[in-house]
């Protein structure tokens, strides 16, 4: 007899999942393992398939092809109410006709748990809102509703907790605070959290592992630092933070390093950080990795000369420069205001330099605009 899915525990495995709606493929041949106990984020722009993936895990959609396992239990076609999985819905979906207490008790009562009161009180204390038990959801602020939605899900101690853009409706300050709290609660209760978001900062703050999704596929998966420092595609390089991508040609090798020609100037980078497939590549450098120096000042590492300061924005902790390079490209440079050197002025002629190991290499046939155009209106819809 197969095991009752409600008792299933373990890693979540999605195997070759495809979900199509008519001609449109929302999720395309996706394979993914989410380890038990991790805080995992599915990050991507609107329409990338992340919400559809989450809904398939919750059981609200069925995959067209592929299977979903929790531990060694196949839950591909299991009904939502038979899965040991709970969701914190976008906009919370609290039951407006029930009190906060009854909202949280809902799942416990359905499963015939005995000590409902004790468990609800415990989780209300965890989210620090025990005084709201007898209120109705509409009497609560957005931040309070968010916490109750979380409490309503975690009180069931599911094998997997799904969070669908959980902080999207909150203002910036509250969102920051909740990010820290969510991370803390995840450690406290030790559940597996799967978090869907379009906000890269939110994903990087909270998740141990991020899968960046684009057009129904996973572009890259790894720790926040991996993804940021060594993106494999232009989409990831642009979607997570900002990148300067400079067209170049691989000229040869030097031990563990590649020698790359960027418009006639030679630079070096680690061979293992190049994802190029042939001679042509884009050298990627994050804006804060660049250093600006005046002509004639000796510098270490890779140097590109012939730059001219186009624009200066002073933002307190740092200064952002736009530097026009001789081949017509404008690069972005963030300088910390920590060394007392007077900032450069518009029109100054400068060199830019950086530590060779910070360079990442992308395929030369990439669309370097991928992941940069994010329409804020589109994000609202999801």
């Amino acid at each position: 007899m197969p095991k009752d899915p409600i008792t299933a525990r373990g890693d979540l495995r999605l195997t070759r999942i495809t979900k199509s709606y008519g001609d449109f493929t929302a999720v395309d041949d996706l394979t993914l393992t989410i380890p038990k106990g991790s805080f995992f984020a599915l990050l991507g722009p609107s329409g990338c398939g992340k919400t559809t993936t989450l809904r398939m895990v919750a059981g609200l959609e069925e995959p067209t092809v592929g299977s979903i396992h929790l531990g060694d239990t196949d839950i591909t076609t299991t009904r939502p109410y038979q899965r040991p999985i709970n969701t914190v819905f976008q906009n919370y979906a609290l039951f407006p006709h029930l009190t906060i207490f009854e909202n949280i008790a809902f799942g416990l009562r359905r499963r015939g748990i005995k000590d409902v009161k004790e468990q609800v009180d415990k989780v209300l204390n965890l989210v620090e809102l025990p005084h709201l038990a007898e209120r109705k959801p509409t009497q609560l602020s957005g931040g309070q509703q968010q916490r109750i939605a979380l409490a309503r899900a975690i009180v069931n101690r599911p094998a997997l907790l799904l969070l669908d853009e959980p902080l999207g409706a909150l203002d910036l300050k509250l969102r920051r605070q909740m990010q820290i709290e969510l991370k803390w609660i995840q450690r406290e209760v030790g559940l597996t959290f799967v978090h869907v978001t379009h906000d890269q900062e939110e994903a990087m703050t909270m998740a141990d592992t991020i899968a960046v999704m684009n057009e129904g596929k996973i572009e890259q998966m790894g720790s926040p630092a991996d993804l940021y420092d060594n993106p494999e595609t232009a989409f990831v390089a642009n979607f997570l933070g900002q990148s300067n991508l400079i067209k170049g040609k691989i000229d040869g090798t030097d031990g563990d390093n590649l020698v790359v020609d960027l418009y006639g100037q030679k630079i070096s980078m680690l061979k293992k950080r190049s994802h190029a497939v042939d001679n042509s590549l884009y050298a990627g450098i994050r804006p804060e990795k660049f250093r600006i120096s005046r002509l004639g000042t000796p510098v270490k590492g890779n140097t590109l000369s012939g730059g001219k300061i186009e624009d200066v924005s002073y933002i307190g902790v740092s200064t952002q420069y736009v530097v026009a390079m001789p081949w017509g490209q404008e690069v972005m440079v963030f300088e910390q205001n920590d060394d007392g050197v007077a900032p450069f002025d518009k029109g100054d002629e400068v060199n830019i330099s950086w530590e060779p190991n910070f360079t990442f290499g992308l395929r030369g046939d990439e669309d370097i605009e991928a992941g940069t155009e994010v329409n804020p209106e589109e994000l609202e819809e999801e």
Binding site: G59, Y81, F89, F95, P96, H97, F106, K136
Partner: protein, 284 residues
Amino acid sequence: MSLPKVRVPYLLLLPGFAFLFTFFILPIINLAQTSTQTRVAGGDTGQYEQTLAFSNYIQAFVENKEQFGRSFLYATLATIFALAIAYPLAYGIAFKAGKYKNILLVLVVAPFFTSFLLRTVAWKQILGEEGFVVPGLRSLNIIGEQTTLTSTSIAVVAGMTYNFLPFMTLPLYASLERIDPRTIEAAGDLYANGITAFRRVTVPLSMPGVVAGTLLTFIPAAGDYVNAAILGSPNTKMIGNVIESRYFKIVDYPTAAALSFTLMVAILILVTLYIRKAGTEELV
């Protein structure tokens, strides 16, 4: 020059108040006066004088308690049947109809394009010997060869159910349509199967529609006389029919007025008790 802001709401209320005062408050005062009048000794038909005869009420009620009882029984039955038919209908339109939603809503109100009277007469045809219902039921041996449906209480209740169905369907649809489908998904996510989610989430959230729909059906149904007059027989007389005949046939204004008041108060009491019990004020 602008009006002081405080006065604007009152000015907006004025036409409505004036209308209600002229066509509701004044007639009802007049009706109250009439209800305690008695016949002028030796006077003409329809000649009455004010004698504050409150005994009119007792007499009118005692003489017609059977019709009162029937009115409330028929109205209750019609309300229950209308709810049973309208709930699935409204649910289907709200959640499953997709792009056909508007067409279906138009179809729900389509009967209003024909007169109430005409539709009721049509039911007489449908339930009559020449309609398809009676021969159909006979051939299936559900009713005997001698049984007819017209002039029965079944016909009256069926006609009332049909005539008030849109009044039940529309408020139900309005409140079902307002339910965030994610709350139903959330119930499923929290271990409620389809039936439990329906019972625990959909039904409570649609209660404002249920209350509004049942009131909009029950109140006019209790005072209705058209269905009983056209589809019924003397044995299915409702209180509306009695009032109608007292006024227009017997020209007994005081009794008709007393019956009207009694009906009004009875409905008010029932509705108040019902709303208390349904507790709609708790819902958002």
